[in-house]
Amino acid sequence: MAKDKPVVGFYDLTGCNGCLLSFVFNEDEILEMARHFQIKSFRLIKELKEEKQFDIVFMEGLVASNMDLEMLKAIRAKTKTLVALGACACTGCIPAYRNFIDASKYVAMVYEKTKEMKDTQPLPINKHVAVDYYIPGCPPDKKQILDFMKDLLLGKKPADYDRPVCFECRLNENRCLLDDGKMCLGPITRGGCDAVCTNGKLECWGCRGPMPDANLPLISKLLEQKGFPKEHIKQRLRTFAGMMMETPPEPKPIKIKPAKPAKKVKLVKKKLAKKKLAKKVAKTAKKTKKAKAKPAKKTLKKVLKKKALKKAKPKPAAKKTAKKAVKKIKKAKKKEKTAKKTAAKRVQPSKPANEPAPQKTFKAESEPQKKDKSFFNMIKGRFKR
């Protein structure tokens, strides 16, 4: 019996775990829901089990590092239905806003990392793999996740969100925040959240992404007329769903600092290491009577030596890292191209007979992005069908 239940996985890439929590916060229904599925992987609350095949995977988060990308690809390869859960996975959310800011704003925070953890351009998951369904929102409404799961169980086509936030906001009889001088993005934003923000008197920030027919030039004109500076409007539009509206400038290579930059900290580290080791040595000596003091001291010296060696390296490496970074970025670009190709080529996953076709709206873009640099033309091109 149990074998017939769909095998489900909940995974997270880079994100805040809010989307997964949103599902967990269905306190009254979660145990019942868990009985209808074989929840095989849910790192947040379970041990990870490597499944050969998943029927459904809910993927939270966006791709921001090599590790994310590898994980995403590996899971896509063994998953029939991949669901992008939440704004990070659907639109890139706030972390993808970084694509639109000048690197000088964060370059000081970029440190040397191991290869697998290296940063990549922060991108929603459909830029790397094919996505079957999207549950937008930051976070997605918890009931919405349940409804989606129920629909999948019943073999129904999950509900489509095709009304703007304004529609729901008006139904709730809220006073319009635009009249209060707030920069509300409700008119162009996909609803389905019951206008939860404007109910709480916060203007809509557009977390669920723009409507397919969103008239972006019009909204920005309107907001400009209301007295908001152009730059500020642009920033807002880009905050949650910038990636759905325009192509960000190509990322420039940045100089990466070695992991331990400050002199002070180096000192700290050394002392720390000594103290730590000394303590540890003392402890081990006490606990394991067999362990003699001499070899322990040796290791202490060795370790310190090694540390010293490591520290000596970074300086000449700095130039190299810069060069490497340029190379890597070139490579990454190539990879991205091939990834796009493979994503397009990817054999459509075999679907159970009763499974609905993917939604037409809010669909993954498989066509390559146009390189138009003007801010609003891009959106127009993308959303007018």
Binding site: K46, E47, M67, I94, Y97, M109, W205, K287, K290
Partner: protein, 429 residues
């Protein structure tokens, strides 16, 4: 014999982290615990944004602590702009924090920590044999969510809080309803605290410096000075004492205090502020016959149980004090900007959270610094593992991993915040 233990994507913690151990005989040669969550560079993205936008943006640092980030961010902005919120607003913020604390502690204790001690893989699997416990956990989580929703507008990433005050006030009826529910939940909290007091924690003691806020009157939440047994300093001086450094194996930075590791969180709060606990929370402590300071990091679970009881009492107290009166939040258009720096330090479920912004006369953020609790605990966790490991070496690999995971989980680390947790790879050399 030498061996390497690699734990990739440690499970049942918030966010992703790996652990890399290398053991030679009885010597631990390498112990690297680090976050592998992709870097999101929030501080960089804040630059050039309006200061009143910061709470909405920084809330996305962490789902489970989104109220905490929102409120800390709000207070940093208020500090910079010289805005003094009303007492009602402060109480509502504290109540939201109480709600978030209840759900965070309940989730951690029952879903992340308890399965380890009962020998289950997850709380979902416990639901047949330990139905009562799981249902209790869900009730507490629900209560926490209801509080946060009543004040913030939704379970996560609250919408109704802004620098200067509340955008929307809860009704008095809603507050009274919350008080009733909190009162009902008291038994659940006490049962939880007793459960976690009865658990046999591994015998392991290692004293470290315990840092928490302290104001000498209340169990700390939204204000106070930074205090440990040996140190005490004002929040604005934090950068003089706390330093950050990076390691290539971690996307979260390490925060140390004057060259030394320290611990923050429920245990540290309890060690420093035991006297300010509510009566019934104190009773749990005296009944379980523990002595302060507690130096066993596994007892962080116990401390969270005690806090659960305390925060429910505190929640009831706040609801009693609240008589909702109409007030208006400051419209961003009416804010007066000036060149200034604002630092806010608050107690969040996992310890001390710092938001530090510099803004210019147009109200744009020029620079930002955010220090999360897990970054502060990271080095201390590493040192604990180093100290705890020698006593485990005779055990099987599986058991060692379980014990280490237990240790890490007892810190309730959150790696989304600090910049993902434990899958183990064994490599015998």
């Amino acid at each position: 014999m030498s061996r390497t233990i690699k734990l990739d994507h440690i499970t049942k913690i918030e966010g992703h982290a790996n652990l890399n151990l290398s053991i030679e005989g009885n010597q631990i040669k390498k112990c690297e615990l680090g976050s592998v969550e992709g870097s999101r560079y929030f501080e960089g993205m804040l630059k050039g944004r309006k200061c009143y936008e910061a709470p909405e943006i920084t809330s996305r640092i962490c789902g489970i602590c989104s109220c905490a980030h929102t409120i800390c961010s709000i207070q940093a902005v208020e500090e910079a702009l010289g805005i003094k919120p009303t007492q009602q607003t402060m109480l509502l913020r504290e109540l939201a924090m109480v709600g978030e604390r209840i759900r965070s502690h309940a989730t951690h204790l029952y879903f992340l920590a308890l399965p380890d001690y009962l020998g289950f893989e997850s709380a979902l699997d416990m639901s047949t044999k330990y139905k009562k416990e799981v249902e209790r956990a869900l009730r507490l989580t629900k209560l926490g969510n209801e509080i946060v929703t009543a004040i913030g507008g939704r379970e996560m990433h609250p919408v109704s809080m802004q620098p200067g005050g509340m955008l929307k006030l809860p009704t008095q009826e809603a507050v009274d309803e919350l008080r009733r529910k909190l009162q009902e939940a008291q038994n659940d909290a006490i049962a939880t605290a007793k459960l976690f007091a009865s658990i046999k924690y591994p015998k392991f003691e290692r004293e470290t410096e315990y840092f928490s806020l302290y104001d000498g009157v209340n169990y700390p939440m939204l204000s106070g000075e930074l205090v440990s047994k040996a140190n005490r300093f004002k929040k604005d001086e934090y950068s003089k004492y706390l330093e950050e450094y990076h390691e290539p194996y971690s996307t979260a930075n390490f925060v140390v205090k004057k060259e030394k590791a320290y611990m923050v969180g429920a245990l540290a709060r309890l060690n420093n502020n035991y006297r300010f606990l509510s009566k019934n929370a104190k009773k749990i402590v005296t009944d379980s016959k523990v002595r302060f300071p507690i130096t066993n990091p596994f007892m962080d679970n116990f401390a969270q149980g005690v806090e659960l009881v305390h925060y429910i009492s505190r929640g009831i107290e706040i609801c009693r004090k609240l008589a909702i009166t109409e007030e208006k939040a400051i419209h961003p258009g009416e804010m007066k900007f000036k060149k200034a720096r604002g630092i806010a330090i608050i107690e969040v479920p996992r310890g001390i959270l710092i938001h530090d912004y510099e803004i210019n006369e147009k109200g744009d953020i020029v620079s930002a610094n955010i220090i999360t609790p897990t970054c502060q605990n990271l080095l201390n966790m590493q040192q604990d593992i180093r100290a705890y490991l020698p006593s485990l070496l005779k055990m099987s690999e599986q058991k060692i991993i379980l014990e280490i995971e237990k240790l890490i989980r007892s810190y309730d680390p959150c790696f989304s915040c600090s910049s993902h947790f434990l899958k183990v790879k064994w490599n015998r050399k």
